[in-house]
């Protein structure tokens, strides 16, 4: 059966076919839909872990227990899981262990574009790279076979354009896992990495990589596509598709395993062509490894180091380098349109994060932010995020700035899922080492940016089962924070009053603002657009300062001020009433409430 699948759907299918028993991950674009799709197959166990390190430990535990385990994350997730990645390489396992890293060249939805192939080399772990959905599915099985044959974790590296591209996939059968689970191994010399054992494991790991390199010579996903011998191209992953398209006649060495490399295959291929180039995205990973073999090769001298490739980029670079004739150049329409209005992403209409940033902007305090939808609080007119590096960073950065004597009171903002991910240890640090940092936990009852995933605070698991709700306020109190308050996210005055109080304190404080994401299905049902009373609005512009995409400038000018009045786009407005709260002239009436009727 042939089906059109995204790379992520194909990996999920491959996991099911390969009989994966335990899959654990943390949501992160472009990897998120793999686990969501996998969870829909019958008789599988899949979970969202609080962070990637926990996810990898869980997958390792399953693999130690003799069941195929998988950990799934975006590229920067592997930074969080790096400690576990390194010990898993040292111990090996009882059943297959595969780690998905979904890299994001061009940073469509990430803070960097790190190339995680370097992690494979660093950790002595083989790396497979599919170039379309069919390979993405097939390589899951290949990765597990490799893992079990060589007693090693295997990295399956995807990139955005593999994850989020659709192509046809021939489906296969499921390899049914054994029904019995073996007793857990008691093998401390292999699984307890005290120095005495680790020293003995290290040479085994180095030998393993040599054995895998020898295996790579005949690994079916490493293949030569014959062609004209004047140009030979070594390539892998999505870059293969661009190379194949732009150089239909060239000989290509297509590597499905990009670490370790098949030395003999590369030498033979290089010797068979006049000129050898590497087409790869991001780092010159293959290029440098080939050059270390003493082979003359070009790569980043022709193709860009930064961002992602596409057929045009590959073609234009090749024309410039003389690999293709000038006639291969494709002209683009030459237009003199001037700068078009930018359309950056924005907090959605009705977003419960908006009032917090409106007040932070008003208070003019330095704000150390974190990763999530709320990072968009950096954009004008809210302009209230001043640092954001990675998940869990904001609270620690705020504490460090405070201890350095930064003259203003620092505020850290973090989301609910991110707080569970890596916000708790830095908050412990704020309490333990006492800094007057104000931490705001923006609890929108869901993992928002990646498209509504359950988390430890939502009361449901990935498989749709009921779960205990981890309560944030008692948790924060248990850490020893004395000043803690939970208030509704859309209550502008309460947020302002609490923050004004907290930034005067000389002790750690935590404000939890709570309101479900406006895009959640139950919340959508309650949407009720507001209206501007044109005769009451004088165009004072205060409501524009909350940065709501539903509030427009009307064509109508106020007679006195000559400024445009506000206008609400009813197709976008959710009725969150934040604009109604900031309007000084009551020109935006609040929704009628059932409570008022009851009181009469």
């Amino acid at each position: 059966m042939i089906k059109m699948l995204s790379g992520n759907e194909a990996v999920a299918r491959g996991m099911w076919e390969a009989g994966v028993m335990v899959a654990s991950g943390y949501p992160g674009t472009p990897s998120t839909e793999i686990l969501e799709n996998y969870a829909r197959f019958p008789n599988v166990y899949a979970e969202w872990a609080p962070n990637e390190k926990v996810a990898l430990d869980v997958a390792i535990g399953a693999a130690y227990a003799g069941r195929r385990g998988m950990a799934l994350m975006k590229h920067v997730g592997l930074n969080v899981a790096a400690d576990s990645f390194m010990y898993a390489s040292m111990t090996g396992l009882e059943a297959g262990l595969v780690i998905i890293t979904a890299d994001d060249p061009a940073m469509h939805s990430s803070q960097n574009e790190q190339d995680n192939r370097t992690f494979a080399k660093f950790g002595r772990v083989p790396c497979l790279e599919p170039s379309d959905s069919q390979e993405a599915k097939n390589m899951v099985a290949a990765a597990f076979e490799l893992s079990e044959r060589f007693d090693t974790p295997v990295m399956l590296r995807l990139t955005t354009r593999v994850c989020h591209s659709m192509s046809a996939v021939e489906l296969g059968e499921r390899l049914e896992p054994a029904t019995e689970v073996k007793p857990f191994p008691r093998n401390p010399s292999k699984y307890v990495m005290v120095p005495g054992n680790a020293i003995k494991r290290h040479p085994i790991i180095e030998q393993r990589m040599e054995d895998i390199a020898a295996f790579a010579e005949t690994f079916p996903h490493n293949r030569v596509e014959p062609g004209s011998l004047s140009l030979g191209i070594v390539t892998a992953g999505i870059a293969y598709q661009y190379a194949r398209e732009v150089f239909p006649d060239a000989a290509i060495l297509k590597l499905g395993m990009t670490w370790p490399l098949p030395e003999r295959m590369i030498r033979q291929f290089a010797a068979s062509v006049d000129r050898l180039i590497v087409v790869e995205e991001l780092d010159p990973f293959l290029e440098e490894a080939i050059r270390l073999l003493g082979i003359a090769v070009e790569g980043k001298s022709i193709f860009p180091l930064l961002g992602e490739l596409d057929p045009r980029q590959v073609r234009e670079s090749a024309v410039q380098a003389g690999l293709l004739p000038e006639s291969a150049h494709v002209a683009r329409p030459s237009l003199d349109l001037g700068p078009l209005p930018a359309r950056p992403p924005a907090l959605c209409p009705g977003c419960p994060h908006r009032p917090t940033f409106y007040i932070l902007n008003k208070l003019k305090v330095p704000v150390n932010g974190d990763i999530g939808c709320y990072t968009l609080g950096l954009l004008p007119p809210l302009s209230a995020i001043h640092t954001c590096g990675c998940m869990g960073a904001g609270i620690g950065v705020a504490h460090g700035a405070a201890q350095a004597g930064s003259p203003e009171r620092h505020v850290a903002v973090i989301g609910d899922s991110t707080f569970f991910h890596s916000g708790i240890p830095p908050l412990i640090n704020v309490v333990y080492n006492q800094s007057p940092v104000v931490t705001i936990i923006l609890d929108n009852r869901i993992t928002g940016m990646t498209g509504h995933q359950e988390n430890p605070g939502t009361g449901h698991t990935l498989l749709g089962e009921q779960a205990p709700v981890i309560q944030i306020e008692p948790l924060v109190r248990a850490l020893g924070v004395q000043h803690v308050r939970t208030i509704p996210s859309l209550d502008v005055a309460a947020i302002e009053a609490t923050l004004k109080e907290y930034i005067k304190l000389d002790a750690p404080s935590v404000l939890i603002v709570e309101e479900p994401c406006a895009l959640l299905p139950d919340v959508r049902k309650r949407w009720l657009p507001l209206e501007v009373l044109a005769d009451q609005c004088n165009g004072c512009t205060l409501c524009f300062r909350i940065g709501c995409p539903a509030i427009l400038k009307s064509d109508e000018l106020d007679e006195k001020t000559k400024r445009p009045r506000a206008l609400i786009d009813a197709s976008l407005c959710t009725g969150c009433e934040v604009c109604a709260q900031v309007c000084p002239r009551s020109a935006i009436p609040f929704k009628p409430t059932e409570m008022e009727g009851a009181e009469v």
């Binding site: 469509h108 955005t160 591209s165 194949r244 683009r332 349109l337 359309r343 992403p345 004008p380 995409p549």
Partner: protein
């Protein structure tokens, strides 16, 4: 049909470009072509500019389409149409939804939304195959403005037939079958009517 057809869909996060490109890639597959699609999820979906690429052909390698190689542009919003004009080939087939979604940079008064004159003149310099469609108004007249993306797909199918970009297996029924598989049962009839209304809208202006 040509050896390959490169589509680009452009719009604003939340407008339904992903569903439309999912339909398009599956129409290609149903008509017997190799078909690929590429899109971006994540941060840009929060009201930012979004594009997705679809390619049909006898053999398709890259899921992405290079700038200057777009044969068919389906723009869900006027500013996004203009932003992606540099992607198209001369004489490309273009469907533009007559929808304006002002970005915050315009609402704040920092930048000016381009006029219809600017839009039409710019496109006229590149291609004579442009159709402007009132997707939202047509969908609203059928009872649900959210069916605008299917109105646009209907218009696209008619435009492709008119401009000789269609081929065997690409009749309206193929499109409708793919669309029907992707919408809840209770909306199938609405979407059939939306698709037909889109087809009829082509050439009306």
């Amino acid at each position: 049909m040509k050896e390959t057809i490169n589509f680009l869909l452009a719009g604003v996060g939340g407008q339904g470009t992903i569903l439309a490109s999912d339909v398009l890639v599956n129409v290609g597959l149903a008509a017997g072509y190799e078909a690929k699609q590429a899109e971006v999820h994540g941060m840009s979906q929060r009201g930012g500019s979004v594009t997705s690429a679809v390619r049909w052909g006898r053999k398709v390698h890259s899921p992405l389409v290079g700038a200057g190689e777009v044969d068919v542009l389906l723009a869900f919003e006027k500013l996004e149409a203009l932003r992606n004009l540099v992607q198209v080939r001369p004489e490309a087939a273009v469907v533009i939804n007559n929808q304006v979604i002002e970005p915050l940079t315009v609402i704040s008064g920092d930048q000016v939304y381009p006029s219809d004159e600017v839009l039409k003149q710019a496109f006229a310099r590149v291609t004579s195959h442009v159709e402007y469609v009132d997707g939202e108004a047509i969908a609203a007249s059928l009872g649900n403005h959210r069916a605008a993306n299917v109105v646009l797909l209907g218009a696209l199918s008619a435009l492709m037939e008119r401009d000789g970009l269609s081929g065997p297996g690409l009749g309206a029924e193929t499109w409708l079958a793919v669309i029907s598989e992707r919408v809840p049962q209770k909306y199938v009839e609405l979407n059939r009517r939306a698709f037909q209304a889109g087809r009829e809208a082509v050439g009306r202006n």
